[in-house]
């Protein structure tokens, strides 16, 4: 039985294909243009790694902020539910999921059975998100993928205190002009991002094991900062950007199993 889950986010579309409960293919595309086209493309490209075609899919479930733009989805499932489902499947001891996305982050508390107990979102403030880190990448002229590693080399950090992303940007620029080493500034940026993220997390309560998903989870410095601030270890799956799509695929599987 072949099913697919597709996660249409603010920045990327990801897809996971399950065959009889195993992941057989997956893929991530940068979102350019319509969600409908991109989501189909993401699934098709993933399927290329298998012997199957689009028509072989028994069920497709869509999630993410653009889920409603996927016309071929049999149903939609909420992001927090998919994040919880996907994480729990990968790590059954997970009790708190921190989904760190491009535009927003969410904290999800998961019960022992894998069900969502509570969730909170931070979509109001840009300063805790992937887009903010992208802006910092531009301002500091450091590739996004290298920011984490570079930051971890720093000797101390330069305070980035503002709550507002706009103010923070001008603060960072003033640090650059003062000649502060980029690693130090980055360390301060990552500290601030972690604090913003934790404001959301605080609303659901933190319980071990804590798992971070989404694009921003790939930034080692942010994860290290979060660990320091909550005084707990955080697990990051090998492919943190696929967890939502995985959860959606699991929902698709469940749907077929039930029918």
């Amino acid at each position: 039985m072949l099913v697919a889950g597709v996660d249409v986010g603010a920045r990327n579309v990801s897809a996971v294909i399950l065959q009889d409960g195993h992941i057989v293919a997956s893929g991530i595309l940068t979102l350019a243009g319509e969600g409908a086209v991109a989501s189909r493309e993401a699934i098709t490209q993933a399927l290329k790694k298998t012997a199957f075609a689009f028509a072989d899919l028994r069920c497709v479930v869509a999630t993410g902020c653009g889920a409603s733009s996927v016309p071929f989805a049999h149903r939609q499932s909420a992001e927090v539910v998919c994040q919880a489902r996907g994480t729990f499947w990968l790590l059954p001891s997970a009790r708190t999921v921190l989904n760190l996305g491009a535009e927003s982050s969410r904290a999800i508390r998961v019960g022992a059975s894998g069900r969502v107990e509570a969730f909170a979102k931070n979509d109001r403030c840009a300063a805790g998100s992937g887009l903010f880190l992208e802006t910092m990448s531009r301002v500091l002229e450091v590739p996004l993928a290298e920011m984490g590693d570079l930051s971890l080399k720093a000797n101390g950090w330069e305070e980035v205190s503002s709550i507002c992303a706009v103010f923070a940007e001008s603060e960072v620029i003033s640090h650059v002009h003062r000649g502060v080493p980029r690693e130090r500034i980055l360390a301060g940026v990552h500290k601030a991002v972690a604090s913003r993220i934790l404001e959301t997390l605080g609303k659901v309560g933190i319980k071990s094991d804590v798992v971070a998903t989404g694009g921003v989870a790939k930034n080692k410095a942010v994860v290290r900062e979060l660990e320091g601030q909550i005084r707990l270890g955080i697990t990051v799956p090998a492919e943190p950007q696929l967890v939502g799509a995985l959860g959606a695929a699991l929902a698709a599987q469940e749907q077929v199993a039930r029918s």
Binding site: C65, S77, A78, R115, V116, F119, K121, D123
Partner: protein, 369 residues
């Protein structure tokens, strides 16, 4: 039949003007449900709750900053835009920093002939009821001065009876929501309550009694929505309740001023009317401003259990201090009762709507799973 009530609300300004012409009477607006409307009613005037509109507060934005109660701002915006030009009077109670400020702002910027500040005390016990009774005497005398007519004790007793009847009818309505599925939806219930705040009470009593006699169980899909409790500060945006219904939820009970807080708790018909009014309006409204959080919590939790709800949505208007301060306590209590909570900090903007939709859908899915 419910459509009629919804329609009245939509046409409330024209309806109030029509009432004025027909009755040659005065219309007096209120900004909070702790104003004893019975006294206004006994004066032969029509008390109406001032409401905002779901639109850009372009006029109010010239006089008020952003981090302020969106409800008051929207009401004031409507007044500046001329929607309330027919208003003869306005009664503003001593409830919170923003509402208190509305007194001065109304005198400063609006042309309402009669504006009264009602001194509602914080003291709820003996001394407080005593003071509030005396304040109600002053209020009554002020209204008499404004209308040119005496307000008799008999008229007050009559108004208390009419209002108590309305409260009883609304209680019956709310009881129908306890059934599974509820006989009226959350949005319908709010329309009925809000229309009571706008219509002549006698008319509302008559129409609501008729509705209650004729109401039949309906078994449409919407009514199967997951049973929810709504705890809110001022939420006059009924579209929010409709949104919950669209997302597969159904509000079957509430703790909010545009809901149960308006009519729960009757006025004692025995004894001196002004004293009885002082007692009811001080002691029987479970509002954060009363600083009796345990009473409010007990009331809310009992309602939740009676209505068999699966989860709670809390909607606090931004900058609403009385509610925001009690929120951590409310959340803790609900979680200890095993009730999941979804919290919204309301702003009444368009972008907010889509965020709310996705959150409510996630919450419903979470409760169903």
């Amino acid at each position: 039949m419910i459509e009629e009530f919804r329609e009245y609300r939509r046409r409330r300004h024209q309806a109030a003007i029509a009432w004025k012409e027909e009755n040659k009477g005065k219309v007096v607006g209120t900004l909070c449900c702790c104003v004893p409307e019975e006294i206004i009613h006994a004066a032969g005037m029509l008390p109406v709750r001032i409401l905002g509109e779901h639109e850009e507060t372009t006029e109010a934005a010239l006089h008020f900053s952003t981090n302020l109660c969106p409800y008051c701002k929207s009401c004031f915006d409507q007044a500046l835009k001329g929607s309330y030009d027919y208003l003869d009077g306005l009664v503003i109670p001593n409830v919170c920093n923003m509402v208190k400020a509305m007194y001065g702002f109304s005198k400063h910027l609006l042309k309402i002939p009669y504006i009264y500040f009602l001194e509602v005390p914080q003291r709820l016990s003996g001394n407080g009821v005593d003071f509030f009774s005396k304040e109600l005497v002053r209020f009554k005398e002020s209204l008499e001065g404004f209308s040119g007519k005496e307000i008799s004790s008999q008229a007050l007793r009559y108004s208390v009876r009419v209002y108590n009847e309305n409260r009883a009818l609304l209680r019956r309505l709310y009881d129908l929501r306890r059934r599974s599925p509820p006989l009226v939806s959350g949005s319908e219930a709010q329309e009925l309550v809000i229309s009571s705040m706008l219509m002549s009470k006698e008319l509302h009593n008559w129409r609501l009694a008729q509705l209650l006699e004729r109401i039949q169980p309906r078994n449409d899909e919407a009514r199967q929505g997951i049973r929810l409790f709504l705890s809110a500060s001022v939420l006059d945006d009924t579209d929010f309740l409709r949104l919950i219904e669209e997302c597969g939820g159904m509000v079957v009970a509430d703790d909010m001023p545009m809901g149960s807080r308006y009519f729960f708790g009757a006025v004692d018909p025995r004894g001196a009317p002004l004293h009885a009014l002082a007692d009811r309006y001080l002691n029987k409204i479970a509002c954060p401003r009363k600083m009796l959080p345990q009473a409010r919590l007990t009331f809310a939790v009992r309602m939740m259990k009676d209505s068999n709800v699966k989860g709670v949505i809390i909607h606090n208007m931004r900058a609403c201090d009385p509610h925001l301060y009690e929120y951590p306590l409310l959340k803790e209590k609900l979680e200890s009762e095993g009730l999941p909570v979804l919290f919204f900090r309301g702003e009444e903007t368009e972008t907010e709507r889509e965020q709310q939709r996705s959150d409510i859908k996630a919450f419903v899915e979470m409760l169903e799973g």
